[in-house]
Structure formats: structure tokens, C-alpha cells
Symmetry: C2
Subunit: 351 residues, 2 copies
């Protein structure tokens, strides 16, 4: 198969972890006789520095014409504590999601047997957890009208949803639940918010199209509790953008394997694959960042092109590296740790 993959390394540790995923993908291409053409493009703070825009038009052209996008991370701390900054790296992320129509973020939370004791939760609480949070990604308060009034002394943001946006996301959730344990949980704040009531009534109306799926409804604050108490209770969770932002990050730490969690952002034409961790600027350039989440994101990419053998091969070699202790310092138990580039080399060699 020929694959054109847009390569957006981004900021912080992005370039380093992306490099390892490229090594692994190239090894896969070599072994299975695929032809991958990498199309590097600028994004985030790196793009602001180069062309003054966190998601430049040239980058969008490359992504829109690619078969898939492999993405590192964006964000730089010099923007965080500067409320006056006009252009922010994260705006690139939002713009990219919107322009590529990436309407759903797929975030699995599962455990690795060898890493389960790294979880902050007790083993009996977390063992066997296998859930997916499907977060709406192009609507809600991150994209609604915002601004200031009263000489800057009043600020507002608007959370808006249309029935169509909710249906599109929920449909994906129902379909996903059908391939799994057939349990869907819609998370909202329907006891207060009008947009949440639209979510709930829309999902309720769709229930009859999926009679096999058992649907439940929870308030977001209750879910924030239950994810810590009984994560095993969930199969597929669907929720709006801001709630999903908070809950996916909370879910990411309960497995104890945050550095390993991949994700996909699904669009109607092109999908994007990225590690869930951020740009981790403190570690940038030190060759110490864990590349496994990016490597596992590449496995999700292959799987979506129905290259299941290739995806399995990547997962096998990742598991092997964990079992043999070929890991970066965040996962090293007493023993030796390896550099980011060494882990990437080892993975590629063992494909």
C-alpha cells in the first residue's frame, strides 16, 4: 500500500517522539512492502516562530491531501502565563481540528499487565479496565463566541451545540459500543445546562436505532468521581468537548500508563493519530521522553487502513520492549533506562 502521511512533530518533545514512530513505521513499510511518503509540516509554537501562525495554510494543504496525519504535541510555556499573547500554539490545535473536520477524539484507557502497579489506584480498582472516551472535538465552548465587555472587566464564552453535531458524535459512539460490550454512557450536565439537555434528548431519540446497546446517562461531576472509584464500570463514554477534555485527562492517569496511551481524532476525510501526552517542554531536547504512545498511535493508524498484521506487529514489539526493560527513565524499575532514540532504534530493529 502507498501511504502519504503528513508528519506534524510540533513542539517540546514532539519532534523526538515522532522520530521514533517514523523509524518504526519505516521498518514496518520495509517488512510488509508498503511505501510511506512522509510529508513534514510546521505547527504549534514552532510554526508561530517560523511564520507567525500555529496552523499555517501550507500545513493544512499537506494534511488535507494526506491519507493520514501523524502528530506529536504542541504548546509552549512562554504563552501560558502571558494573558496578552495574541497568538497561541493551542489555537493551532483548535484550528486544525476545525479545518480538517476532526469531530471525534477517540481515547482508550486500558492497562498493561507489567505496568499496573504504577497506577495511583489500587490494583483491584484498575485491573481489567478497558474503556473508550469519545470526545466531541469541534463544537462547544472552545469554539463558541467569546469576548470582553465593560472595558475588559467582563469576559464570556459560549457553549453551543446543534442536534446534528450531537448525532454525528453519538452515532460513532453507538457503532463503537456495538463492536465492544454494547454499553454506552452519555455524560452531560443536563440538570443545569441547556446544551446538555439537547445532548440528552438527542441521544435518547437515537436509542431505538440501536436496541442492543444499553444506554446510561450521567452528570459530568458524577463521572469524574466514578472514573476514580470504578473505572471498570465503563465501556464507551460519549461527551461534549470541555467535559471530554477534563475526563479524558483524568482517565489517562488512572491506568498508570499515561505515557503509553495513543489516540485518534476522526474526521470525515482524514484522521489524525497522536499520543495523549503533551509537549512536556521540560524534557525537550534531552532524548528522555517516552515514545511508546506515539508508536502505538501509529499502530492505530495502520489498523484504520485495515493493516491489522502491521498494527499487531507494532503492539507486539512494544510489549516486548516493556517485558525486556528497554524503556525510557519514566518506566525504568531500579534497573537501566534507555534514551528515546535508543528505544526507537530497538523497536525498529525488532519489527
Amino acid at each position: 500500500m502507498k501511504l502519504n502521511i503528513a508528519l506534524l512533530a510540533g513542539d517540546g518533545i514532539g519532534p523526538e517522539v515522532i522520530d521514533q514512530a517514523v523509524k518504526v513505521c519505516d521498518a514496518i513499510a520495509n517488512k510488509y512492502k508498503h511505501e510511506i511518503t512522509w510529508k513534514p509540516a510546521l505547527t504549534g509554537a514552532a510554526a508561530i516562530d517560523a511564520v507567525g501562525e500555529p496552523y499555517p495554510d501550507e500545513t493544512h494543504e499537506i494534511c488535507a491531501n494526506a491519507d493520514a496525519v501523524l502528530f506529536g504535541a504542541i504548546g509552549h510555556p512562554r504563552f501560558d502565563n502571558d494573558p496578552s499573547a495574541k497568538v497561541r500554539p493551542e489555537q493551532g490545535l483548535l484550528k486544525m481540528r476545525q479545518k480538517l473536520g476532526l469531530f471525534a477524539n477517540v481515547r482508550p484507557t486500558f492497562t498493561f499487565p507489567s505496568l499496573i502497579d504504577k497506577s495511583p489506584l489500587k490494583r483491584e480498582r484498575i485491573e481489567g479496565t478497558d474503556l473508550i472516551i469519545l470526545r466531541e472535538l469541534t463544537g462547544g465552548i472552545y469554539f463558541g463566541e467569546r469576548g470582553r465587555k465593560d472595558d475588559g472587566n467582563t469576559a464570556f464564552d459560549t457553549m453551543t451545540y446543534t442536534r446534528g453535531e450531537i448525532q454525528r458524535l453519538a452515532k460513532k459512539g453507538f457503532e463503537m459500543a456495538m463492536t465492544r460490550s454494547k454499553r454506552l454512557c452519555c455524560v452531560d450536565k443536563a440538570n443545569v445546562l441547556e446544551s446538555s439537555r439537547l445532548w440528552r434528548e438527542t441521544v435518547q431519540a437515537m436509542e431505538k436505532e440501536y436496541p442492543e446497546v444499553e444506554v446510561s446517562y450521567e452528570f459530568v461531576d458524577a463521572t469524574a468521581m466514578r472514573l476514580v472509584q470504578w473505572p471498570k464500570g465503563y465501556d464507551v463514554i460519549i461527551t461534549e468537548n470541555l467535559f471530554g477534555d477534563i475526563l479524558t485527562d483524568e482517565a489517562s492517569v488512572i491506568s498508570g500508563s499515561m505515557g503509553l496511551m495513543p489516540s485518534a481524532s476522526v474526521g470525515s476525510k482524514v484522521s489524525l493519530y497522536e499520543p495523549i501526552h503533551g509537549s512536556y517542554p521540560q524534557a525537550a531536547g534531552k532524548d528522555i521522553a517516552n515514545p511508546l504512545a506515539t508508536v502505538l498511535s501509529a499502530a492505530m493508524l495502520f489498523e484504520d487502513f485495515d493493516l491489522k498484521l502491521e498494527a499487531e506487529d507494532i503492539r507486539r514489539v512494544v510489549n516486548k520492549s516493556l517485558a525486556e526493560g528497554i524503556v525510557t527513565e519514566d518506566l525504568a524499575e531500579d534497573g537501566k533506562s534507555y534514551r528515546t532514540s535508543e528505544v526507537g532504534d530497538w523497536l525498529a530493529k525488532n519489527i
Copy 2:
């Protein structure tokens, strides 16, 4: 001291847990020669059933003229799955907070040595946790303009904050931090939301008035992670209404003692004291609900009237009941459990 206390039992288990707090307060009044006049009033679903309003004017009159309000819980499941319901119990809560000007919710999270193994978190993660979340309670998206457009197919909610609202809450946070470990964390989503940027710039401008307080800033999704990973890292957290709703509930389960956590809602004239747990309708009327959070909320009430001996006496008797196993079924280890009313009787007798 003479105390007029408005007594809002509310829905579900509210009346039962309130009854036990009244017994304990009456025992305190008797022992320390105070005169408590209880002023019962309707709220929540109970008030909707009786007068069609979840926070009737008569109830507000009683609260506004009381020295303090002791509150149970409100909410009834028959409203949750009915998006068409025009009047909801929770609207009573919002209306009460607004009309009484309860602008800050004080939510401590701490551990009880005898209950620490009930935490879903590993002992080393949670032991020693002692944090307070100060949640803004009368602004933000729960009170902003909301509605429908396009024949009901688009719904919106508005998150609005003024500089004054933020200053009032932050001032309380700085003052609270000064009496504790002098660390304040402002939680927002300033990388995306305009209202969050107003939060951040307002708190940043106040830093110089409290030079001893070490201030940090975090994004809400990061805090949702870190509360599970390293709750000991926090001292006082200040945040807006919706974020606070989610984070306080998440924080409530990490100690393993959710059924015991009290809270206060601070107003300029009158404050309200309530357990953090909800109305727990499944347990209503069964005499099995844990009354300790309500009893400990009464302790916070006495403390705010500078009746420290009385507050200490209540905490002493609660700890004694835990140590001696005079507990409801949620806390019973193998052994015997007691009914709600039996625990209340025992506490009152031991004052």
C-alpha cells in the same frame, strides 16, 4: 449564645441525616447552655410537590433572617431523565445560592486514619492529604444566559465572569491560604477561554497584596489528573463554578471518606452548612444513610460562630464513633452496622 438556624432537610436522605445533626446540636446546646431555635423550611422536590417551587419565597425569608442555614440534600431522579420538566429541584439550589449571595463553596478533602484503606488510591498517594477547594458559586455557565435557537435544534449556555466576582472569590482564597500552608493554586482553562484569561489576569494582579502566598496556575484538565496522582501537592485551590463542581466531586472520593465530608457555602450575611453527598434517593426512608457529613457540617457551623469547643466536641464524638464501630453500613467492616437514627442517638448521648 442564641442561634436561629434555618433547617432545610430537602429530598431523599436529607431529612434523615438532618435529624441526626439536630440531635447532636441539641445535645451541644444543652451541654454548653446555648439556645438553638430551629426554623424548618421546604426546598427541592419536596417544595415542588408542596408549592410548585424548589426554593419558595417563604423558605428564602426564613434563611435570610436566620443566623445560619443547615441543609440536607436535594434532587429527585424523576426529573433527571425528563428533559421536558420545567421546574427542577436543582434550580432551587442555584436560586438559593444566588438569593442568599452564597458566592463561595468551601470543600475540604482530608483523610481519617481509620478509613484510609477505603480510598481507591494507594495509601502512599492519599495519606496526609489536606486540601481545600474554594469553588465560585454564583457566576459562570450555571447562571449565564441560555436557550434554544433554530426550532430547538441549537442550544447554548454562556459562561460569564466579572473582575469583581473573581476578586471576591480569590480574596477568600488568599486569606484561607494565609491560615494554612500559604500555597494557592488558581485552576482555569486560560489557554482557550476568555473568562479563564480574566480569572488568571485578575489573580495575577492580586499576588502582590499577599507576598507570602506562593501562587500557581493550572489548567483544569491537568488538575483533574493531578488530584488523582498527587493530591498532597495541593493546599488551597480556587476555581470557577463548573470546574469547581467537577473537581470537588472528584476530590471527594479520593479520601475514601466521601460520606463524611462536610462543606460550607459562604455568603456576605448568612452561611450555609451541608454534607457534600447528594440526596441518594435509593436509600431514602431506609434509615441506612451515613449522617456524619451532616454532623461534621454542623461542627463547621459552630466554628464559624467562634464556638470552637463545641466544634471540637462534635469532631471528638465522631472520631469516637468511628473508632468504636458505631457506624452505618457503608463503613461497617465485617462487623455490625447501625441505623442512621442509632448513630445519631449514640453521638448525641456521647456529647
